[in-house]
Amino acid sequence: MTQHRNTSRWLWLSLALLATPAGAADFEKGWRAYQQGDFAAALAEWKPLADLGNARAQYNLGVMYDQGRGVSADQAKAVDWWRKAAEQGMAEAQHNLANAYIAGDGVPQDYALARDWLARAAEKGLARSQYSLGKLYETGLGLAADPAKAHALYLKAAGQGYDRAQYNLGKMYRDGVGAERDLAQAILWFRKSAEQGYARAQAALGTRFARGEGAPRDDAEALFWTSLAASQGDSAAMENRKVLLQRVGAPVAAQVEERVKAFKAKRAE
Protein backbone atom coordinates (compact mmCIF):
# COMPACT_ATOMS: atom_id res chain seq x y z
CA MET A 1 0.00 0.00 0.00
CA THR A 2 2.81 2.43 0.93
CA GLN A 3 4.51 1.74 -2.42
CA HIS A 4 1.32 2.61 -4.32
CA ARG A 5 0.82 5.87 -2.38
CA ASN A 6 4.39 7.01 -2.99
CA THR A 7 4.12 6.26 -6.71
CA SER A 8 0.86 8.23 -6.94
CA ARG A 9 2.43 11.15 -5.16
CA TRP A 10 5.44 11.08 -7.45
CA LEU A 11 3.21 10.96 -10.52
CA TRP A 12 1.13 13.83 -9.22
CA LEU A 13 4.23 15.95 -8.58
CA SER A 14 5.65 15.20 -12.04
CA LEU A 15 2.38 16.14 -13.70
CA ALA A 16 2.22 19.31 -11.65
CA LEU A 17 5.74 20.26 -12.73
CA LEU A 18 5.05 19.51 -16.39
CA ALA A 19 1.88 21.58 -16.26
CA THR A 20 3.68 24.71 -15.01
CA PRO A 21 5.28 26.54 -17.94
CA ALA A 22 8.78 27.65 -16.96
CA GLY A 23 8.19 30.98 -18.76
CA ALA A 24 5.22 31.97 -16.56
CA ALA A 25 7.11 31.09 -13.38
CA ASP A 26 10.07 33.33 -14.39
CA PHE A 27 7.86 36.25 -15.35
CA GLU A 28 6.01 36.11 -12.05
CA LYS A 29 9.26 35.99 -10.12
CA GLY A 30 10.37 39.10 -11.98
CA TRP A 31 7.07 40.79 -11.27
CA ARG A 32 7.33 40.14 -7.51
CA ALA A 33 10.89 41.50 -7.50
CA TYR A 34 9.79 44.58 -9.46
CA GLN A 35 6.99 45.29 -6.99
CA GLN A 36 9.56 45.17 -4.19
CA GLY A 37 11.76 47.66 -6.05
CA ASP A 38 14.40 44.98 -6.68
CA PHE A 39 14.93 46.03 -10.28
CA ALA A 40 18.14 44.06 -10.83
CA ALA A 41 16.29 40.82 -10.01
CA ALA A 42 13.34 41.79 -12.22
CA LEU A 43 15.74 42.48 -15.08
CA ALA A 44 17.44 39.10 -14.59
CA GLU A 45 14.07 37.33 -15.06
CA TRP A 46 12.64 39.50 -17.84
CA LYS A 47 15.64 40.09 -20.13
CA PRO A 48 15.95 36.43 -21.23
CA LEU A 49 12.19 36.26 -21.79
CA ALA A 50 12.27 39.49 -23.76
CA ASP A 51 15.08 38.15 -25.93
CA LEU A 52 12.93 35.07 -26.61
CA GLY A 53 10.08 37.31 -27.83
CA ASN A 54 7.82 37.47 -24.78
CA ALA A 55 5.80 40.66 -25.39
CA ARG A 56 5.02 41.36 -21.75
CA ALA A 57 8.69 41.08 -20.78
CA GLN A 58 9.69 43.27 -23.75
CA TYR A 59 7.18 45.92 -22.71
CA ASN A 60 8.29 45.92 -19.06
CA LEU A 61 11.92 46.18 -20.12
CA GLY A 62 10.91 49.24 -22.12
CA VAL A 63 9.38 50.75 -19.00
CA MET A 64 12.58 50.11 -17.06
CA TYR A 65 14.72 51.81 -19.72
CA ASP A 66 12.26 54.70 -19.91
CA GLN A 67 12.38 55.23 -16.14
CA GLY A 68 16.01 54.25 -15.49
CA ARG A 69 15.11 51.37 -13.14
CA GLY A 70 17.92 48.90 -12.73
CA VAL A 71 19.50 50.37 -15.87
CA SER A 72 20.59 53.82 -17.01
CA ALA A 73 17.63 55.65 -18.53
CA ASP A 74 17.72 55.21 -22.32
CA GLN A 75 14.74 56.45 -24.32
CA ALA A 76 15.91 54.88 -27.57
CA LYS A 77 16.20 51.43 -25.98
CA ALA A 78 12.79 51.90 -24.36
CA VAL A 79 11.30 52.61 -27.78
CA ASP A 80 13.00 49.55 -29.31
CA TRP A 81 11.51 47.23 -26.70
CA TRP A 82 8.08 48.85 -26.88
CA ARG A 83 8.07 48.57 -30.65
CA LYS A 84 8.73 44.82 -30.47
CA ALA A 85 5.82 44.34 -28.09
CA ALA A 86 3.61 46.80 -30.00
CA GLU A 87 4.12 44.85 -33.22
CA GLN A 88 2.89 41.78 -31.39
CA GLY A 89 -0.32 43.68 -30.64
CA MET A 90 0.23 44.61 -27.01
CA ALA A 91 -1.94 47.68 -26.31
CA GLU A 92 0.15 49.16 -23.48
CA ALA A 93 3.26 49.00 -25.67
CA GLN A 94 1.39 50.63 -28.55
CA HIS A 95 0.29 53.38 -26.16
CA ASN A 96 3.76 54.09 -24.78
CA LEU A 97 5.32 53.97 -28.24
CA ALA A 98 2.75 56.49 -29.47
CA ASN A 99 3.55 58.81 -26.59
CA ALA A 100 7.28 58.53 -27.33
CA TYR A 101 6.43 59.78 -30.85
CA ILE A 102 4.42 62.69 -29.44
CA ALA A 103 7.20 63.77 -27.07
CA GLY A 104 10.01 62.99 -29.50
CA ASP A 105 11.71 60.85 -26.81
CA GLY A 106 13.99 58.21 -28.31
CA VAL A 107 12.47 58.78 -31.76
CA PRO A 108 11.97 61.87 -33.93
CA GLN A 109 8.65 63.52 -33.13
CA ASP A 110 5.85 62.22 -35.37
CA TYR A 111 2.23 63.00 -34.49
CA ALA A 112 0.89 60.98 -37.44
CA LEU A 113 2.64 57.78 -36.33
CA ALA A 114 1.47 58.49 -32.78
CA ARG A 115 -2.10 58.72 -34.08
CA ASP A 116 -1.78 55.35 -35.85
CA TRP A 117 -0.49 53.53 -32.77
CA LEU A 118 -3.01 55.22 -30.47
CA ALA A 119 -5.87 54.26 -32.77
CA ARG A 120 -4.88 50.59 -32.48
CA ALA A 121 -4.59 50.69 -28.69
CA ALA A 122 -7.81 52.71 -28.33
CA GLU A 123 -9.62 50.15 -30.49
CA LYS A 124 -8.50 47.47 -28.04
CA GLY A 125 -10.18 49.49 -25.27
CA LEU A 126 -7.16 50.97 -23.48
CA ALA A 127 -8.58 53.99 -21.63
CA ARG A 128 -5.42 56.05 -21.68
CA SER A 129 -5.09 55.64 -25.43
CA GLN A 130 -8.70 56.68 -25.92
CA TYR A 131 -7.84 59.78 -23.89
CA SER A 132 -4.54 60.48 -25.74
CA LEU A 133 -6.20 60.04 -29.13
CA GLY A 134 -9.02 62.30 -27.97
CA LYS A 135 -6.41 64.93 -27.09
CA LEU A 136 -4.97 64.72 -30.61
CA TYR A 137 -8.46 65.27 -32.04
CA GLU A 138 -9.11 68.11 -29.61
CA THR A 139 -5.86 69.93 -30.37
CA GLY A 140 -5.51 68.97 -34.05
CA LEU A 141 -2.04 67.39 -33.77
CA GLY A 142 -1.25 64.81 -36.45
CA LEU A 143 -4.78 64.98 -37.81
CA ALA A 144 -7.57 67.49 -38.40
CA ALA A 145 -9.14 68.78 -35.18
CA ASP A 146 -12.52 67.10 -34.57
CA PRO A 147 -14.18 68.08 -31.28
CA ALA A 148 -17.02 65.58 -31.67
CA LYS A 149 -14.56 62.68 -32.06
CA ALA A 150 -12.56 64.01 -29.10
CA HIS A 151 -15.73 64.09 -27.04
CA ALA A 152 -16.67 60.52 -28.00
CA LEU A 153 -13.18 59.25 -27.11
CA TYR A 154 -13.08 61.13 -23.80
CA LEU A 155 -16.48 59.65 -22.97
CA LYS A 156 -15.14 56.11 -23.51
CA ALA A 157 -12.07 56.73 -21.36
CA ALA A 158 -14.04 58.63 -18.72
CA GLY A 159 -16.54 55.80 -18.51
CA GLN A 160 -13.64 53.49 -17.71
CA GLY A 161 -12.67 55.76 -14.82
CA TYR A 162 -9.69 57.64 -16.25
CA ASP A 163 -9.49 60.88 -14.24
CA ARG A 164 -7.92 63.07 -16.94
CA ALA A 165 -10.56 62.02 -19.46
CA GLN A 166 -13.30 62.78 -16.95
CA TYR A 167 -11.87 66.27 -16.40
CA ASN A 168 -11.55 66.98 -20.14
CA LEU A 169 -15.06 65.66 -20.77
CA GLY A 170 -16.31 68.01 -18.06
CA LYS A 171 -14.58 70.92 -19.82
CA MET A 172 -16.24 70.05 -23.14
CA TYR A 173 -19.69 69.98 -21.51
CA ARG A 174 -18.86 73.22 -19.68
CA ASP A 175 -17.82 74.99 -22.85
CA GLY A 176 -20.23 73.35 -25.32
CA VAL A 177 -17.35 71.97 -27.42
CA GLY A 178 -17.88 68.67 -29.28
CA ALA A 179 -21.30 68.36 -27.64
CA GLU A 180 -24.18 70.56 -26.43
CA ARG A 181 -23.33 72.69 -23.42
CA ASP A 182 -24.57 70.85 -20.33
CA LEU A 183 -23.48 72.23 -16.98
CA ALA A 184 -25.05 69.39 -15.00
CA GLN A 185 -22.98 66.89 -17.01
CA ALA A 186 -19.94 69.12 -16.53
CA ILE A 187 -20.38 68.94 -12.77
CA LEU A 188 -20.96 65.18 -12.88
CA TRP A 189 -17.71 64.50 -14.71
CA PHE A 190 -15.67 67.12 -12.82
CA ARG A 191 -16.88 65.50 -9.59
CA LYS A 192 -15.84 61.98 -10.61
CA SER A 193 -12.38 63.26 -11.45
CA ALA A 194 -12.20 65.49 -8.37
CA GLU A 195 -13.09 62.55 -6.11
CA GLN A 196 -10.09 60.74 -7.53
CA GLY A 197 -7.91 63.65 -6.42
CA TYR A 198 -7.33 65.29 -9.79
CA ALA A 199 -6.46 68.90 -8.89
CA ARG A 200 -7.62 70.57 -12.12
CA ALA A 201 -11.04 68.94 -11.75
CA GLN A 202 -11.24 69.95 -8.09
CA ALA A 203 -10.52 73.55 -9.09
CA ALA A 204 -13.07 73.45 -11.92
CA LEU A 205 -15.72 71.91 -9.65
CA GLY A 206 -15.05 74.55 -7.01
CA THR A 207 -15.58 77.29 -9.59
CA ARG A 208 -18.97 75.83 -10.63
CA PHE A 209 -20.22 76.05 -7.05
CA ALA A 210 -18.71 79.50 -6.54
CA ARG A 211 -20.57 80.80 -9.58
CA GLY A 212 -23.74 78.72 -9.24
CA GLU A 213 -23.19 77.18 -12.69
CA GLY A 214 -24.93 73.81 -13.11
CA ALA A 215 -25.85 73.71 -9.42
CA PRO A 216 -27.06 76.27 -6.87
CA ARG A 217 -24.32 78.54 -5.61
CA ASP A 218 -22.64 77.02 -2.55
CA ASP A 219 -19.61 78.85 -1.21
CA ALA A 220 -18.76 76.20 1.39
CA GLU A 221 -18.76 73.45 -1.24
CA ALA A 222 -16.74 75.74 -3.51
CA LEU A 223 -14.22 76.38 -0.75
CA PHE A 224 -13.90 72.63 -0.06
CA TRP A 225 -13.00 71.66 -3.63
CA THR A 226 -10.94 74.79 -4.23
CA SER A 227 -8.94 74.16 -1.05
CA LEU A 228 -8.16 70.61 -2.16
CA ALA A 229 -6.86 71.90 -5.48
CA ALA A 230 -4.92 74.68 -3.75
CA SER A 231 -3.25 72.18 -1.42
CA GLN A 232 -1.88 70.45 -4.51
CA GLY A 233 -0.31 73.69 -5.70
CA ASP A 234 -2.93 74.73 -8.29
CA SER A 235 -2.19 78.48 -8.45
CA ALA A 236 -5.60 79.56 -9.79
CA ALA A 237 -7.22 77.63 -6.94
CA MET A 238 -4.90 79.27 -4.42
CA GLU A 239 -6.13 82.68 -5.56
CA ASN A 240 -9.80 81.63 -5.61
CA ARG A 241 -9.48 80.16 -2.14
CA LYS A 242 -8.53 83.56 -0.71
CA VAL A 243 -11.69 85.11 -2.18
CA LEU A 244 -13.90 82.27 -0.89
CA LEU A 245 -12.43 82.47 2.62
CA GLN A 246 -13.56 86.10 2.74
CA ARG A 247 -17.01 85.11 1.56
CA VAL A 248 -17.72 82.25 3.99
CA GLY A 249 -16.34 83.67 7.24
CA ALA A 250 -14.37 81.92 9.97
CA PRO A 251 -16.83 79.33 11.39
CA VAL A 252 -17.66 77.84 7.96
CA ALA A 253 -14.00 78.03 6.96
CA ALA A 254 -13.11 75.92 10.00
CA GLN A 255 -15.75 73.30 9.15
CA VAL A 256 -14.52 73.12 5.56
CA GLU A 257 -10.93 72.73 6.77
CA GLU A 258 -11.98 69.65 8.77
CA ARG A 259 -13.59 68.16 5.66
CA VAL A 260 -10.46 68.91 3.65
CA LYS A 261 -8.27 67.12 6.21
CA ALA A 262 -10.58 64.10 6.18
CA PHE A 263 -10.67 63.85 2.38
CA LYS A 264 -9.31 60.64 0.90
CA ALA A 265 -8.94 60.44 -2.88
CA LYS A 266 -10.57 57.38 -4.45
CA ARG A 267 -8.18 55.91 -6.98
CA ALA A 268 -10.09 54.13 -9.74
CA GLU A 269 -7.12 52.53 -11.54
Partner: protein, 206 residues
Protein backbone atom coordinates in the same frame (compact mmCIF):
# COMPACT_ATOMS: atom_id res chain seq x y z
CA UNK B 1 28.33 81.93 7.01
CA UNK B 2 30.73 79.03 7.27
CA UNK B 3 30.07 75.72 5.61
CA UNK B 4 29.34 72.91 8.02
CA UNK B 5 29.08 69.19 7.58
CA UNK B 6 25.65 68.21 8.81
CA UNK B 7 25.12 64.48 8.96
CA UNK B 8 21.61 63.28 9.61
CA UNK B 9 20.73 59.63 9.76
CA UNK B 10 17.75 58.17 11.58
CA UNK B 11 14.69 60.06 12.87
CA UNK B 12 15.01 63.84 13.31
CA UNK B 13 14.71 65.28 16.80
CA UNK B 14 12.18 67.93 15.72
CA UNK B 15 8.84 67.37 13.96
CA UNK B 16 8.54 69.09 10.58
CA UNK B 17 5.47 71.17 11.48
CA UNK B 18 7.67 73.24 13.79
CA UNK B 19 9.35 74.78 10.80
CA UNK B 20 6.62 77.23 9.81
CA UNK B 21 8.80 80.22 10.74
CA UNK B 22 11.97 79.06 9.05
CA UNK B 23 14.96 81.36 8.81
CA UNK B 24 15.94 82.14 5.24
CA UNK B 25 19.58 81.25 5.78
CA UNK B 26 19.45 78.34 8.20
CA UNK B 27 21.46 75.45 6.78
CA UNK B 28 20.48 73.19 9.66
CA UNK B 29 16.80 74.01 9.18
CA UNK B 30 16.98 73.34 5.46
CA UNK B 31 18.87 70.08 5.99
CA UNK B 32 16.30 68.97 8.55
CA UNK B 33 13.50 69.87 6.17
CA UNK B 34 14.94 67.76 3.34
CA UNK B 35 15.64 64.83 5.64
CA UNK B 36 12.15 64.87 7.12
CA UNK B 37 10.46 65.27 3.75
CA UNK B 38 12.54 62.40 2.36
CA UNK B 39 11.80 60.13 5.33
CA UNK B 40 8.07 60.75 5.19
CA UNK B 41 7.99 60.26 1.43
CA UNK B 42 10.20 57.15 1.51
CA UNK B 43 8.01 55.62 4.24
CA UNK B 44 5.15 55.66 1.75
CA UNK B 45 7.24 53.65 -0.73
CA UNK B 46 7.86 51.00 1.90
CA UNK B 47 4.14 50.40 2.60
CA UNK B 48 3.44 46.71 2.14
CA UNK B 49 0.43 45.34 0.31
CA UNK B 50 0.03 48.12 -2.25
CA UNK B 51 1.23 48.01 -5.83
CA UNK B 52 4.43 49.87 -6.72
CA UNK B 53 2.39 52.14 -8.99
CA UNK B 54 0.06 53.10 -6.13
CA UNK B 55 2.92 53.63 -3.65
CA UNK B 56 4.76 55.84 -6.12
CA UNK B 57 1.62 57.95 -6.61
CA UNK B 58 1.36 58.57 -2.87
CA UNK B 59 5.13 59.21 -2.74
CA UNK B 60 4.82 61.92 -5.40
CA UNK B 61 1.80 63.47 -3.68
CA UNK B 62 3.86 63.85 -0.51
CA UNK B 63 6.86 65.28 -2.30
CA UNK B 64 4.64 67.77 -4.11
CA UNK B 65 4.17 69.58 -0.80
CA UNK B 66 7.89 70.21 -0.46
CA UNK B 67 8.52 71.69 -3.91
CA UNK B 68 7.51 75.15 -5.07
CA UNK B 69 6.38 73.87 -8.45
CA UNK B 70 4.68 77.14 -9.35
CA UNK B 71 7.97 78.98 -8.94
CA UNK B 72 10.02 76.38 -10.79
CA UNK B 73 7.43 76.06 -13.57
CA UNK B 74 7.40 79.79 -14.23
CA UNK B 75 11.19 79.93 -14.27
CA UNK B 76 11.44 77.00 -16.64
CA UNK B 77 8.84 78.35 -19.11
CA UNK B 78 10.52 81.78 -19.10
CA UNK B 79 8.88 84.57 -21.08
CA UNK B 80 6.56 82.07 -22.82
CA UNK B 81 4.56 81.64 -19.59
CA UNK B 82 2.99 85.10 -19.92
CA UNK B 83 1.93 84.28 -23.50
CA UNK B 84 -0.13 81.24 -22.42
CA UNK B 85 -3.87 81.53 -21.82
CA UNK B 86 -5.01 81.00 -18.17
CA UNK B 87 -6.20 77.47 -19.05
CA UNK B 88 -2.84 76.68 -20.68
CA UNK B 89 -1.01 78.06 -17.65
CA UNK B 90 -3.05 75.90 -15.28
CA UNK B 91 -2.60 72.80 -17.47
CA UNK B 92 1.12 73.56 -17.76
CA UNK B 93 1.51 73.88 -13.99
CA UNK B 94 -0.21 70.56 -13.39
CA UNK B 95 1.63 68.69 -16.15
CA UNK B 96 4.98 70.26 -15.31
CA UNK B 97 4.61 69.32 -11.65
CA UNK B 98 3.76 65.71 -12.59
CA UNK B 99 6.71 65.58 -14.96
CA UNK B 100 9.23 66.95 -12.46
CA UNK B 101 8.08 64.67 -9.68
CA UNK B 102 8.12 61.57 -11.90
CA UNK B 103 11.54 62.38 -13.30
CA UNK B 104 13.34 63.56 -10.20
CA UNK B 105 11.61 61.77 -7.31
CA UNK B 106 13.75 58.75 -8.10
CA UNK B 107 16.70 60.78 -6.78
CA UNK B 108 15.48 59.93 -3.30
CA UNK B 109 15.82 56.22 -3.96
CA UNK B 110 13.65 54.22 -1.57
CA UNK B 111 13.90 51.03 -3.62
CA UNK B 112 15.20 47.69 -2.47
CA UNK B 113 18.29 48.11 -0.30
CA UNK B 114 18.72 51.84 -1.01
CA UNK B 115 19.42 54.31 1.78
CA UNK B 116 19.02 58.08 1.63
CA UNK B 117 21.19 60.37 3.75
CA UNK B 118 21.70 64.11 4.01
CA UNK B 119 25.43 64.74 4.13
CA UNK B 120 25.94 68.50 4.11
CA UNK B 121 24.18 71.87 3.95
CA UNK B 122 25.65 75.23 2.96
CA UNK B 123 24.26 78.66 2.14
CA UNK B 124 24.07 79.70 -1.52
CA UNK B 125 23.47 83.33 -2.47
CA UNK B 126 21.32 85.59 -0.29
CA UNK B 127 18.33 83.34 0.21
CA UNK B 128 19.10 79.72 -0.45
CA UNK B 129 20.65 76.67 1.11
CA UNK B 130 22.12 73.78 -0.87
CA UNK B 131 21.43 70.50 0.87
CA UNK B 132 23.59 67.67 -0.33
CA UNK B 133 22.25 64.14 -0.23
CA UNK B 134 23.49 60.70 -1.14
CA UNK B 135 21.73 57.45 -1.99
CA UNK B 136 23.68 54.34 -1.08
CA UNK B 137 22.78 51.44 -3.37
CA UNK B 138 23.71 47.78 -3.11
CA UNK B 139 24.00 47.51 -6.89
CA UNK B 140 26.33 50.42 -7.72
CA UNK B 141 28.16 53.58 -6.66
CA UNK B 142 26.31 56.13 -4.51
CA UNK B 143 24.21 58.78 -6.31
CA UNK B 144 24.67 62.39 -5.23
CA UNK B 145 21.99 65.07 -5.45
CA UNK B 146 21.88 68.67 -4.30
CA UNK B 147 18.58 70.25 -3.25
CA UNK B 148 18.24 74.04 -3.45
CA UNK B 149 16.01 75.14 -0.60
CA UNK B 150 14.50 78.59 -0.11
CA UNK B 151 12.19 79.97 2.57
CA UNK B 152 9.05 81.14 0.75
CA UNK B 153 6.21 82.73 2.78
CA UNK B 154 7.67 81.25 5.95
CA UNK B 155 7.95 77.67 4.70
CA UNK B 156 10.91 75.78 3.28
CA UNK B 157 10.46 74.82 -0.37
CA UNK B 158 12.69 73.02 -2.83
CA UNK B 159 13.24 75.19 -5.89
CA UNK B 160 15.80 73.07 -7.78
CA UNK B 161 17.62 69.76 -7.66
CA UNK B 162 21.03 69.09 -9.22
CA UNK B 163 22.09 65.54 -10.01
CA UNK B 164 25.81 65.03 -10.42
CA UNK B 165 26.12 68.81 -10.68
CA UNK B 166 23.48 69.32 -13.38
CA UNK B 167 20.59 71.63 -12.44
CA UNK B 168 17.10 70.36 -13.23
CA UNK B 169 15.66 73.87 -13.61
CA UNK B 170 18.41 75.02 -15.99
CA UNK B 171 18.22 71.81 -18.07
CA UNK B 172 14.46 71.92 -18.40
CA UNK B 173 14.44 75.63 -19.21
CA UNK B 174 16.78 75.07 -22.13
CA UNK B 175 14.75 72.13 -23.38
CA UNK B 176 11.37 73.82 -23.03
CA UNK B 177 12.68 77.00 -24.65
CA UNK B 178 13.50 75.00 -27.77
CA UNK B 179 10.10 73.27 -27.81
CA UNK B 180 8.20 76.51 -27.20
CA UNK B 181 10.16 78.41 -29.82
CA UNK B 182 9.46 75.69 -32.40
CA UNK B 183 5.84 74.80 -31.73
CA UNK B 184 4.32 77.10 -29.08
CA UNK B 185 2.55 76.17 -25.82
CA UNK B 186 0.36 73.38 -27.29
CA UNK B 187 3.36 71.38 -28.44
CA UNK B 188 4.98 71.66 -25.01
CA UNK B 189 1.74 70.65 -23.31
CA UNK B 190 1.44 67.70 -25.72
CA UNK B 191 5.00 66.59 -24.89
CA UNK B 192 4.42 66.88 -21.14
CA UNK B 193 1.12 65.03 -21.43
CA UNK B 194 2.82 62.28 -23.42
CA UNK B 195 5.54 61.93 -20.82
CA UNK B 196 3.16 61.76 -17.86
CA UNK B 197 0.46 59.47 -19.26
CA UNK B 198 2.51 56.43 -20.21
CA UNK B 199 1.37 53.06 -18.92
CA UNK B 200 3.37 51.43 -16.10
CA UNK B 201 4.90 47.94 -16.03
CA UNK B 202 2.27 45.20 -16.12
CA UNK B 203 1.64 41.61 -15.11
CA UNK B 204 -1.41 41.34 -17.39
CA UNK B 205 -0.94 39.27 -20.49
CA UNK B 206 -2.25 40.22 -23.94
Amino acid sequence: MLSRRVVLAGPPAVVVSGYAQAQATSPDGAAQFVMTLAQQALATLAQPGLSLEHREGVFRDLLRQGFDLDFIGRFVAGRYYREMTPDQQADYQRLFGDFVLRTYAGRLGGYSGEKFAVVAARPAGQQDVLVQSRIERPSGPPIGAEWRVRSISGAFKIIDVAVEGVSMAVTQRAEFDAVLARGGPESLLAALRARTTKMPATARSG
